[in-house]
Amino acid sequence: MTLTALTRRTFVAAGAATLASGLLVPARAAEIAPTQTMRGGANNYRPGAPIVERIGNGGFWMTGTVRRAGDGAPLPGQRIQVWAHTTEGHERDPESHGATLTDENGEFRLEMPQIVPAFGQAHGHVAYDSDAFKSVFLRPLLPRTSDTQLSAHFVLQPA
């Protein structure tokens, strides 16, 4: 699966495709390909940004999942860093950055200030950059500038 935003339509389509391929070729159904880093994904990254309850005053939700390549098992306790140009600061500002850990289902959810268009597109940055797996830097776009949430999904491969 590619890195496009997980809308209901793509979710249903992906689910149907997975189901179909599973029925047709059961032995390969569990092969889940690793997520590739997106161009520009690592721009203005700050290694070691602290784990926070919330970035700034919140109001916008960055969500997603972290799974293992191959069998697609959810990965709990993985550190994910989030940053963006928001109503409270530029991408380079340290206080625009924050990290969170995935829960037992491999899901993460971090509240942050509203993302606003910068450098021509409303976009966020989400990164996995720890030791256990290969680093992945994503740069998802907001489908609409008025959106108050954005999601990004990781499938990681061993480092």
Binding site: M38, R39, G40, A42, N43, N44, H85, T86, T87, E88, H90, E91, R92, V116, P117, A118, F119, G120, Q121, A122, R139, T145
Partner: protein
């Protein structure tokens, strides 16, 4: 040029250039941007507006203005706007600008922006060297460079989600493209291509 036509052209050009600047000045995005980023954005908007003036000046379509002289002044100002635009963006987010200049940015409009920069620098370069070039080479190279500059700048601007209003941006781009096409046709590049 009749007085009425001159007034009409003046009013139209004023609205097309100052309108987008005024709209950009009231954009809600500005409240979430640092001054240097705001300056970079305005340099871009102003540069686009200057692109409309250039063909009108060189064809002497602007009333009561020494078109040829002001074409040179505005040309220098245009290069300055491009430099301020890129420098301001660089200070705001260095890695994003490096990506653009190396043609590896994820944003399609930025490729057009980088091409526009080179086309504008090229047009200025040929203009600066015009006395050392044969008239034919100088005029043709400048015409090709400015045509590319306006086309790529329009593509760059239209694709950006930024401070300019969509309608005013489209109107300014369409006007700049039309004025440039008119000036290029009037310069008779076909005649320049013929060997003498």
């Amino acid at each position: 040029m009749s007085g009425r036509r001159a007034t009409l052209i003046g009013a139209l050009v004023g609205a097309l250039t100052l309108g987008p600047l005024a709209i950009a000045a009231t954009s809600p995005l500005l409240q979430w941007r640092q001054p240097v980023y705001i300056a970079a954005g305005f340099a871009g908007v102003a540069g686009l507006a200057l692109l409309l003036l250039q063909p009108l000046l060189i064809r002497r379509l602007l009333p009561g203005i020494d078109g040829r002289r002001w074409h040179r002044v505005i040309g220098v100002a245009l290069v300055l706007m491009v430099v301020i635009h890129i420098a301001g963006l660089w200070i705001t987010s260095p890695p994003d600008v490096v990506d653009v200049l190396l043609f590896r940015s994820p944003t399609p409009f930025s490729i057009w922006g980088a091409l526009a920069m080179w086309a504008i620098f090229g047009a200025a370069f040929f203009a600066a060297l015009r006395r050392r070039l044969s008239p034919r080479v100088w005029r043709l190279s400048h015409l090709v460079a400015v045509t590319l500059a306006v086309l790529t700048t329009a593509a760059h601007a239209v694709l950006i989600d930024g401070t300019m209003g969509t309608l005013s941006k489209l109107a300014l781009c369409a006007a700049a493209l039309t004025a440039t096409a008119y000036a290029v046709v009037k310069a008779k590049p076909g005649r320049m291509l013929k060997r003498r």
